[in-house]
Structure formats: structure tokens, C-alpha cells
Symmetry: C2
Subunit: 308 residues, 2 copies
DNA sequence: TTCTATTGTTGTCCTGGACATAAAATCCCA
DNA sequence: TGGGATTTTATGTCCAGGACAACAATAGAA
């Protein structure tokens, strides 16, 4: 623990900052589920134990990947950790572990130049695609876990994301000019803030010679349609984080599919797509980054290059 | 405006994120002062206009430098801005304006490497002390103003602070090894989070040959005493941001003065010290960074170097 | 003048209710 | 039996208004 929360009791404001769960949610859970049930000080105000806060962090982390509070609030911290572990079967390589350790240390000491240097080096060493699959993916998990253990503050996690985006963008721009086929439009729907996934997809595809046109996150549906037509893209790819409401995603995709020219392929990727049951005609779900390359190969074999 | 809040109405959550004023405070002000008085949607929930949010941001900014809400809530946005302007009489130089412009642009585009580069260059060009006085001070204000206008998000402001600390730390470490006199202990009291002021003081003094020992922010009183004695420092310097409660600062300083050996000098600096009326025996108030150097010279003339 | 007690300000927390919206379960139709 | 629409359940956010602690300002005492 870096936070000096050892035997200490936290008030509701501190718990809100620490866990990211709003005061309203904390009180609501107490009312509805009976957990957490903090003690009260002389003044009748809630005093949360470090133990409870630890469990709250673990719950938050699982909820961020789609689990619902009612399902997990009865479990012990050990059980929660077991669920989290079960969701990430692959053990990272020893090399990745080294990097993880270094990166976490640099985040804790706010050594941003060191962090940039490490990330840039690692891209060089592994190449962009392997970097995304073998380094970033476990690293993201490690950073999330560190937060859960109280080893990183919210802001430090934010710093990490930011630096990672910088590194990826630099590496993507360093790639030889992308003017190949297919042309692909990359973005997210409005309300989806998570731009990192977008960059990761781009990093996977640019080395394959794909001509990526990224609009950044939060593009209104109508603008996506217009941009797709203006750029004459072959594929429109949308990214969805786990937190995005399934219903909104499905509706948005269906609308977009209806409004896009039929010959344009529509891809949907990101954590959220693992939770989608329905098969949606004309929409390709890509729940795993590693599959993007397969999906691309498949697209290429089915689309004979057109003479310009 | 970068935020797409033009004709839009914001709900209370969005205003909280945007202004940094908690929902409770927003409701309380409405109850007590009658401002803001947002409209209601079909569901009876508050809907704030962009105009009101602008005034709220301006108020928040003034409160962060010590004004009280009751005094300013009746003023118009123009009057609030006039007060803010009046507090910073010096106009920055044309050079500083250029840098401001560049830095803001880079913050908006999240160009961290560019930002680091610019800051590092500027340190080289001006030297550490002038950098602190002529660049950082107006830059801090420019960043704060940009936030107030809605041109920067909270997170981008945070990013700025972080990068600035990185740049300062690098420049300080690059200075020739500090082993001179006086030896000075630098820190802040617990509950004071603001570490930037500390670094700025250090940056002012290291080029003067002061041997700075920084404990970072938030050191418990007893630890300050112990560290001061262990390192046999000549001066203990504490930094206080404007937001720090005056009473706590005064009490903390008095206690520390009592517990420190009499021959040790105690300095208190930072925005807060401008609001302190009381003269405190044995404690030197330094409300302006530029005065640190004077204070140092004065200390040196009054303390004949001791043979070791 | 400086210290201390009092008074006014201001923010945070509390309870408990209402309700919108997402997810899950159910139903219905081909 | 699968897909789509509809109902039910789960969950989060908002609201009102009260209480009170912490802080600042002011008045009074030494």
C-alpha cells in the first residue's frame, strides 16, 4: 500500500476519490445490499475500513469489465480476485513482467520521460503489432490491478493512458505512408470516451498496409456516414469499451449499417463486443485485437482489388 | 469554446465535472444565494445554461485564490473577470505570450513530448530563476484562465502541472551538486497537496548555492522536526497554497516554531501567506517567490559562516 | 496590540423518496 | 428454435431539506 490507509478509517468523500464510486452509489449499496456497512463517528458520519475499501475497489474493477454489482457484492475479496484472474488466462512472459515492473515504478515516481523512453524502446524492439498484443495488453491489466491494490492513484492511471497514446501515435506516424487498401475509417460513437482502443486497432493495421483514417473518439452517427462516403472507405470500424451500454451500441450499429452503402464493411471491436449475444447481419464483431489481422486477411481474399 | 456546450444545457453532473463544484455545493448555492437558478427538465432535474456555467467557473477560479462565494456571487461575469485581472497587474512580455500560446496549443493536442521540449528549452534559454519568475508564473495564470474560459479540461490542467514538475525537477538535478550553506528543509504540512510551489522555491534557491533537502508534500509535523534535526538544517521552509485553511497554517507554524531548535530559521511561503495578517514571531513570511532570494541574502548577512 | 470568545459563512454529510434507464427475463411469431 | 419485441428487475442519479462542523470575521478582553 502506498496510500497511508493502513489502520485508518476513511470518510465517504475519501472513499469516493479512492474507488471512483460516487457517494450516492456508496449509500445506495448500503441501503440495498447491506454492503459496505461502515461504522459511524461521533457525528453520525460513515467511516469506512480499509478492508471494505479494498473490496469496493475490486468490485469496481470487475464492474468496469461488465459484471453487475448484485452478482458480486456477496463475494469475498478472495473470490473477486479469483474471478478477475480467471478472465485473463494467459500469463505474461518474463520479459513483459520486467517491463510491467519498470512501468509501474515510473508511474509511481511520475517519471514521464523515463516512461516515454521505455515505451518507445519497446516498440522498436518488438515492432508495433507485437507491442500492442504482448506488451500493452498485459500492461493495461497490470496497471488496472495496481490501482485495485491501491498501488496507483486514479490520476497515475490516467497518466499512463495518456503516455501510451503518445507512444502509439508516434509509432504509427513513423510507419511508412499508408496509402494502400483497404481504406478504413476508425472512430467511436458519441458518449464513448475511450480513445485508446482506437489507437491500438490502428497500430495493428497500419503495418499491414491499411490506409487508416481516424476521426478520434465521439463522432456523431451522421458524421460517420458522411466521412465514410467522402473518403470512399472500404471498411468502417468502431470501438466500444466495456462500460458502453450494450443497447446503445447495438442500436447505433444497426442504424449505421442501414445508412451506409451496402458494399462498405462494418466492423465493431472492443471489450463490449464480448457481451453481445445477438448476431447482427452485415456487422463483423471483433472481440479480440489479435483477430483484427485475421479479419483483414479474410476481407482481402473476398475483395478482389479494383483497378483505380 | 472547445467543449461542445454552445446552446446546450448541462445537467448537474456535467456541471460538477466542468466546474469542479460538487453537486451539493451547486444545490446549496441555489438554496442560499439564488444563484445559479437553472431551469428544470420534464423530470424536474436541473438544467444549467452555458452562461451560468461560465460564471460558475469564474467564481471557482477566484475562490481558489481566497475569495469567498458570498462576496462575489452577486457580481456579473464581467465584474468577476475585472477582479481576476486586477490581481495580476504585470503584463507578460511578448516572448512569454508566445510561449503561452504554444504551451496551450500543445496541452490541447496532448502533445506531451513537444511540451517537455518547449519547457526544457525555455529553462536553458532563461536560466532556472528567470524561468520560474518570468515564464512559469504567467504561464500558470494563462493555464488557469484557459480553464476558466472552458478552453482546457481539468485533466489537461493536471497534465500541465505534472509536466512542469518534471521539467523543474530535471533542471534542478542538472544543477551542480548543492552542498553549500544554508542547508534548507523544504516541505508542506499534511493536507497540503500542492507540490509545485515547493519545486519552484527549490528552483529559485539551488542556483544560489543553497543545499535543499526536499521531503515532498504532506509531511507530519513531528517528521519535519525530526528531519530538520537529523539533517542539521539552518532553515525550514514550508509552502502553502491559497486553498489551505489559514487557521491550520498558523497553528501548524506556531507549533513547529515551538518545537524546532531556536537557532533554526522558519520560512513560510506561497499564496496563502498573503492572507495572513498576524505577525508571527520567529517566522518569516515570504508571499512572493521573487523575495526568496532577498530573504536568503538577508539570512546570509546575519549568519556568519561557522567553521565545520 | 495581541489573544480569545462569539457570531456569521460555507461546505459536507445525512435520510429517504422518486424515477429514468440499462439489463435480464419473458413472451410471441415465424 | 431463433429472433425480435415487451415486460420485469436491477441499478444509478437526482431531489428536498435538515443538521452540523469547520472556517473566517468580528468583537471584546488583557
Amino acid at each position: 500500500m502506498r496510500n497511508d490507509t493502513q489502520g485508518l478509517l476513511l470518510n465517504i468523500s475519501a472513499v469516493e476519490k479512492d474507488t471512483g464510486l460516487s457517494k450516492d452509489v456508496l449509500r445506495m449499496w448500503e441501503r440495498r445490499y447491506g454492503f459496505p456497512r461502515p461504522g459511524r463517528d461521533d457525528n453520525g458520519e460513515r467511516q469506512y475500513s480499509a478492508t471494505d475499501v479494498g473490496k469496493l475497489r475490486a468490485m469496481k474493477r470487475l464492474m468496469d469489465v461488465g459484471l453487475r454489482p448484485g452478482k458480486i457484492i456477496g463475494l469475498t475479496l478472495t473470490e473477486l480476485n479469483a474471478i478477475a484472474d480467471a478472465r485473463t488466462p494467459a500469463r505474461p512472459s518474463p520479459l513483459a513482467l520486467d517491463i510491467e515492473h519498470d512501468v509501474l515504478a515510473m508511474l509511481r515516481s511520475h517519471d514521464l520521460p523515463g516512461l516515454q523512453h521505455t515505451l518507445a524502446n519497446q516498440v522498436m524492439r518488438q515492432g508495433l503489432q507485437r507491442f500492442v498484443l504482448d506488451t500493452i495488453t498485459p500492461l493495461n491489466r497490470a496497471v488496472g490491478d495496481a490501482w485495485m491494490r491501491g498501488d496507483l492513484q486514479v490520476f497515475e492511471e490516467h497518466l499512463y493512458t495518456e503516455q501510451l497514446q503518445v507512444a502509439l501515435r508516434a509509432a504509427i506516424n513513423a510507419s511508412p505512408r499508408q496509402s494502400g487498401t483497404p481504406r478504413m475509417l476508425l472512430t467511436t460513437l458519441p458518449a464513448e470516451l475511450h480513445g485508446l482502443g482506437l489507437l491500438m486497432v490502428e497500430a495493428m493495421l497500419v503495418p499491414e498496409g491499411v490506409h487508416c483514417i481516424s476521426l478520434g473518439p465521439q463522432t456523431p452517427l451522421e458524421d460517420i456516414r458522411r466521412a465514410a462516403i467522402a473518403h470512399q472507405v472500404h471498411i468502417v470500424a468502431l470501438s466500444f469499451s466495456a462500460a458502453f451500454p450494450v443497447r446503445q451500441a447495438v442500436d447505433g450499429l444497426a442504424t449505421l449499417r442501414r445508412e451506409l452503402p451496402a458494399q462498405m464493411t462494418l466492423w465493431a471491436g472492443g471489450e463490449l463486443t464480448r457481451r453481445v449475444r445477438k448476431t447482427m447481419p452485415g456487422i463483423m464483431l471483433i472481440p479480440d485485437l489479435a483477430w483484427t489481422v485475421n479479419a483483414l486477411h479474410s476481407w482481402r481474399t473476398h475483395h478482389v482489388p479494383q483497378p483505380v
